[in-house]
Amino acid sequence: MMNIPLLLPTEWVHELLMGWMPETAVSIVEMVLIAVVYLAFFAVAGLYLVLLERKVAAWIQLRLGPNRVGFWGIFQTIADALKLVSKELTGTVKADKFLYNLAPYFPIVAALIALSVFPFSKSLQAYDVNIGIFFLTAVSSIGVIGILIGGYGSNNKYALIGAMRSGVQVISYELSVGLSLLTMVLLTGSLQLSEIIETQRTGGWLIVQGHIPALIAFMIYMIAGTAETNRAPFDLVEAESELGAGYHTEYSGMKFAYFFLAEFINMFIIASIATTVFFGGWLSPFGITDGIFWLQPIWFILKVFIIILLMMFFRWTYPRLRIDQVLTLEWKYLLPLNLMNIVLMAIIVWLKFTISW
């Protein structure tokens, strides 16, 4: 009993449950508990990312932003969510009811599955799958199915155009996301996320280790990641001045909220991958606080937060691209650059030109 303060909360809960019930029951209860914790955490995180976005937009646009509901508007998005929950779920008469109702679950479920593999700290990770990066890219591309069938199922031409744009765009930029992450995998030699972070504990963050190709990979990753989340300057999917609201034109209430929340959780995912792969995950800069385990999640969230801010600055300063320009950028510039970058990285790793200490 002496070392209880040193035990991690997860281990403590495990010990407690093991005293009560058989092992199979314990694992089932633990799974449910973890799922509930994740759902709760990311519902709240999604809501506060919306608030942060509105505040950042306001700061850039000479406004104050939400400031009426609670101090500094901190309950604004919760009030918004309550409003959306209580709203009527309308729909078009001629919609394909099955697809129309199914669509909102895809983006949100895909986003939540992807979250399960992130190491928030050394031990705070729900599922340390050994093909982590591969799993992430695979799961995050499920979300686009929801957008496609949502746009198709709602029987609205604007929604259909938005969905088709989304399909074209997300499938194209998947390539760049995958390849830029693959560049970094060459450095670590492992797809497992915990393993990738271990590599950075000894040799410095990967963006430093891999220097030039890593920087290029990071830039490509940020561009492609922004496109993956359908955010400006790649927000052609919902381009409000062109298509009204794009693929979710016909959705209301909670169904709309699923799409909306998924966008913000996707942003969190993109930033989390960048944090893990390029900026050392939960590691502190130069290992200053690596011994203190409760600071690890804070470092992780802090880095994610900075990258999310970067993506928000993109959104509020850049105009939107046109659909052919989006595809030109990917297929004519980013993809060839990415392929060359992989070769460059391979040569650097082969000749051991990496920077490490």
Binding site: A239, P319, R320, R322, D324, Q325
Partner: protein
């Protein structure tokens, strides 16, 4: 028969039509565009007008000449002062009334302020149409200052009703000169900011350059005017061709570009703001003393005949045609509105481009729907 064709051509695509408007974020009002689209490519654009038709021209036949002025506010509400001025000039010319110098100078200063206000709003909106929402708030920040000046002088911010046949409704506010000077000083520091935020942006230039081409010949044949025509190299500035009010005593350049694309139309308007600032600077320090109006009869009766006055609003040439039969109200009034002619070029420009480009083109045409419909 249809089954056979399906088998023969499995990849056959069909054109389809979508309604853009009357309630659509990019049409800035209640313009309805019927688009025929093949995938993303536009095949045909048919504007459908009449959603905000208030029969202003017919109402003018009912009203006295003083009342007509107030109706014109509601046409192109972003250059309401210039619309008022056009009617007043037409009536004054018909009556052969010489207005004092003070009136002329004040009219010109407020006219140019109106032009800047209209262009700042347009600049905000073009960014918004292209997905850069931030520009909207920057444009409105500067426009608010102009509206404040207007509010102090004539009580209204948008539909000003400051002109009357024979002069102005009241004299300028004592603060007017100082506040205008302050604004000019402020805006000279803010205009380069516009360029930093939008003009130099690579994405913005890619979206604008080479898009919505309108050659000089087309610009003339569609009857475009204002910045749209000047971006295609047509020297059409009424302020130069046919100076009115105090515009004959100021030095300014007519902004001309020859590219004829969306980016040229954008740059014409940005440059015009600089020119307007220079016009204001030349006039603001020497507003002559004198009366702010000449007395007219309570019931103005124009002599028999036809009278025409053209002015340059922020959108182009506004023509006011008055046909009088000597009574207290006109027999027929016709407004030649710039927006209507500029809109007619949209189909020609848009065919073959993408939906996103159509929005950009509409933004550079600077359409104000009540001006098109009247």
């Amino acid at each position: 028969m249809p089954e056979e064709t399906i088998v023969k051509d499995p990849f056959k695509t069909e054109e389809y039509m979508i309604n853009m408007g009357p309630q659509h974020p990019a049409t800035h009002g209640v313009l309805r565009l019927l688009l025929t689209i093949d995938g993303e490519i536009i095949k045909k654009v048919e504007p459908d007008l009449g959603f905000i038709h208030r029969s202003i021209e017919k109402m003018c036949e009912r009203d006295s000449y003083q009342q007509i002025v107030h109706l014109t506010d509601r046409m192109d509400y972003l250059s309401s002062h210039i619309n008022n001025e056009a009617v007043c000039l037409a009536v004054e010319n018909a009556l052969e009334l010489e207005v004092p110098d003070r009136v002329k100078v004040i009219r010109t200063i407020i006219g140019e302020l109106t032009r800047i206000a209209s262009h700042t709003l347009w600049w905000g909106v073009i960014g918004m149409d292209l997905g850069a929402l931030t520009t909207y708030f920057y444009g409105f920040r500067d426009r608010e200052l102009i509206n404040d000046i207007f509010e102090e002088t004539c009580g209204a911010r948008l539909t000003m009703n400051y002109n009357i046949p024979g002069g102005l409704m009241f004299d300028i506010h004592p603060n007017f000169v100082q506040r205008t000077k302050d604004f000019v000083k402020h805006f000279k520091t803010k205009l380069p900011e516009y360029d930093q935020l939008l003009t130099g942006n690579v994405i913005f230039q890619k979206r604008m350059k080479g898009v919505g081409l309108l050659t000089k010949e087309d610009a003339i044949s569609f009857g475009t005017s204002g910045p749209v025509a000047r971006a295609s190299g047509v020297a059409s500035d009424i302020r130069k061709i046919h100076p009115y009010s105090a515009l004959d005593r100021v030095e300014f350049n007519e902004v001309l570009f020859t590219e004829g694309d969306s980016f040229a139309r954008y740059r014409v308007r940005i440059q015009e703001m600089w020119e307007s600032l220079s016009i204001i600077e030349q006039l603001i320090d020497n507003i002559p003393d004198g009366d702010y109006k000449v007395p007219t009869k309570a019931v103005i009766k124009l002599p028999k005949g036809e009278f025409y006055q053209r002015v340059e609003t922020a959108r182009g040439e506004l023509g006011v045609y008055i046909n009088s039969d000597g009574k207290k109200n006109p027999y027929r009034v016709k407004f030649r509105s710039p927006g209507f002619s500029n809109l007619s070029a949209l189909n020609h420009m848009a065919v073959g481009s993408k939906i996103g480009d159509l929005v950009a083109m509409m933004a550079t045409l600077d359409l104000v729907v009540p001006d098109i419909d009247r």
